[in-house]
């Protein structure tokens, strides 16, 4: 048999061996399956470069923000990618759909973050296909924990740290209840539920206080906002972050580059379209400054 599908040709015999050990109590574990196929999940650096210890600061030049609004969760990120003080890309996607009801917003090393998002997406699908049921909400949270924890050596090397926000809609929530949930992770993979909002990335320090203020003292509390109000608020927040954080981009009117804004509701994940964002941008400007 010609060797034209690297893995595919080896798959059958290897699967037999694998099956004897694993499949008979198959757990729908995609990560395990990938490891079995020798997929390089980690990059091993020479040892002299790995002993930086705990003084490594995880680079996370961006701003992503999630708020709980009336119908679920709205989650957004700016579009700038930086290397040191240079802007290298102005259309980066930092808010990634994982499945019909979950979204990952990333800050940190893009290579690892995209890989984590991809593994996560495939893991959920693989679980559904092999185990014939959706992975539970708790199961999804743990899967992400595990991926982040496995990535710890890279984070400690100072090159692969990822701190994401994970937003999901809990379909088991009662009809009149808001099933939107926001989770924040640390570098070791612990997850914490943020009730009303979460933000991460270098720009987040400039808006965390604003979020707290809006959520507690705002005219319309975050959780009561409709989709339009929430969009306007989020655009204002990103605008504020971009004012003070060099690694966060604002709205580029000339090139028509908008932040990524997604909603996670009972009906699934949806993008807020660019023309909608443009209208909201006009509304987000203070009186007299509208373009």
């Amino acid at each position: 048999m010609s060797d034209n599908g690297n893995f595919l040709n080896r798959m059958r015999t290897e699967h037999e061996a694998f099956a004897l050990k694993e499949v008979m109590n198959h757990k729908g574990d995609f990560l395990n399956l990938l490891k079995h196929t020798n997929y390089p999940l980690k990059i091993d650096l020479p040892s002299e470069k790995t002993q930086h210890g705990a003084d490594i600061e995880i680079a996370h030049s961006t701003t992503v923000v999630a708020v709980r609004y009336r119908d679920g969760v709205m989650i957004a990120g700016d579009r700038r990618a930086t290397a040191g003080t240079s802007v290298i890309y102005d259309r980066a996607e930092k808010v990634l759909q994982i499945d019909r009801h979950s979204v990952l917003a990333i800050s940190g090393s893009p290579a690892i973050a995209y890989e984590i998002a991809r593994i996560l997406e495939h893991s959920f699908q693989y679980f559904r296909r092999s185990q014939l049921q959706e992975l539970s909400l708790e199961g999804k949270l743990r899967m992400l924990s595990r991926l982040i924890r496995e990535n710890l050596p890279m984070a400690l090397q100072g090159i692969g740290g990822v701190i994401p926000i994970f937003a999901l809609y809990d379909l088991n929530a009662a009809d009149d209840e808001n099933g939107g949930k926001i989770f924040f992770y640390d570098a070791l993979g612990a997850h914490f539920e943020n009730v009303n909002f979460a933000t991460t990335g270098s720009g987040s320090i400039w808006i965390r206080g604003v979020l707290r203020y809006l959520s507690r003292f705002g005219d319309t509390p975050l959780q009561e906002m409709d989709v339009r109000q929430a969009t306007v608020t989020i655009l204002r927040l990103l605008d504020t972050a971009s004012e003070y954080d060099a690694a966060t981009s604002g709205y580029n009117a000339r090139a028509q580059i908008f932040p990524n804004v997604k909603t996670v509701t009972r009906t699934g994940v949806e993008d807020i379209a660019d023309d909608e964002l443009e209208t909201c941008y006009a509304e987000a400007q203070p009186d007299g400054e509208a373009s």
Partner: protein, 256 residues
């Protein structure tokens, strides 16, 4: 035994008889295209029989549940890993069938000292732009058959021929809607069930006509201790995964 050709052929024939005897009473599966995709349909007794393999690929089978499960895992694992390592668009039914499944089936069947798979498998692939929808059936001996607009798997060749003949005469083309496809599929299933309940010689005779009244009776009887199961690959489904099982309400509306 291999240096005695006659005994080897005899052993293979015994094996064939044994497997076909086991398969004969299996509940047939019908695959049909319709205006928005493809549907797989059967009536089962509790055990799920229609599965999602990948974004655009679905699977069904008749045979021993343990064999179905093992081979379903093989094809699901292979498709998942390949879809991850390359891209999901790179997974296709032709390669899964010819590089992974067919020779697994053949090898198990012909290694007469090992266990044989008691299985007939039906896979459906929803074509992406420029590609056609495709049904592939793999027999327990590794033989592969491909159909474009409709297909069946049943316990024996006689049952399959009977069902296919019915589909050929009753079908009005592939532009039917889902309701029409479900009705046609159920009728073909009833033909298959009827043939599998007859003695082999009887089934082979010309008297294979099953009229509509009889069909509905067979379906109603089957539904008493079983359940209609149908899965679709829908082109209009949002997102990359096109498979979903139909709900019992959706199936109910298609019933006569």
């Amino acid at each position: 035994m291999r240096d005695e050709p006659y005994r080897w052929i005899e052993a293979i024939q015994d094996r064939r008889d044994y497997i076909e005897d086991q398969l004969r009473v299996g509940s047939p599966v019908v695959g049909l295209t319709y205006d928005d995709g493809m549907v797989l349909l059967t009536i089962g007794r509790g055990q799920r029989k229609i599965f999602e393999v990948h974004d655009r690929i679905a699977l069904s089978a008749i045979g021993h549940p343990a064999d179905i499960e093992r081979l379903r895992m093989l094809v699901t694992d292979t498709a998942s890993v390949q879809g991850f390592q390359n891209a999901t668009e790179d997974v296709n039914l032709h390669r899964l069938t010819n590089f992974v499944l067919a020779h697994t089936f053949k090898q198990a069947f012909e290694s007469i000292v090992g266990e044989a798979y008691i299985i007939k498998m039906l896979l459906a692939e929803l074509g992406s732009t420029g590609d056609k929808n495709r049904f592939t059936c793999i027999n327990y001996d590794g033989n592969v058959r491909t159909d474009m607009t409709s297909t069946v798997i049943g316990g024996t060749e006689v049952i399959e021929t009977g069902m296919q003949n019915y589909l050929a005469t009753a079908s009005t083309g592939s532009d039917r809607d889902l309701t029409a496809a479900l009705q046609l599929g159920l009728e073909a299933w009833a033909v298959g069930r009827e043939l599998s309940s007859r003695e082999p010689e009887e089934a082979e005779s010309e008297e294979t006509q099953v009229d509509t009244v009889q069909m509905h009776e067979i379906i109603n009887v089957a539904r008493e201790d079983g359940e209609i199961e149908a899965g679709v690959l829908e082109t209009t489904q949002r997102g990359a995964s096109k498979f979903r099982l139909l709900t019992s309400q959706e199936i109910e509306t298609a019933l006569p």
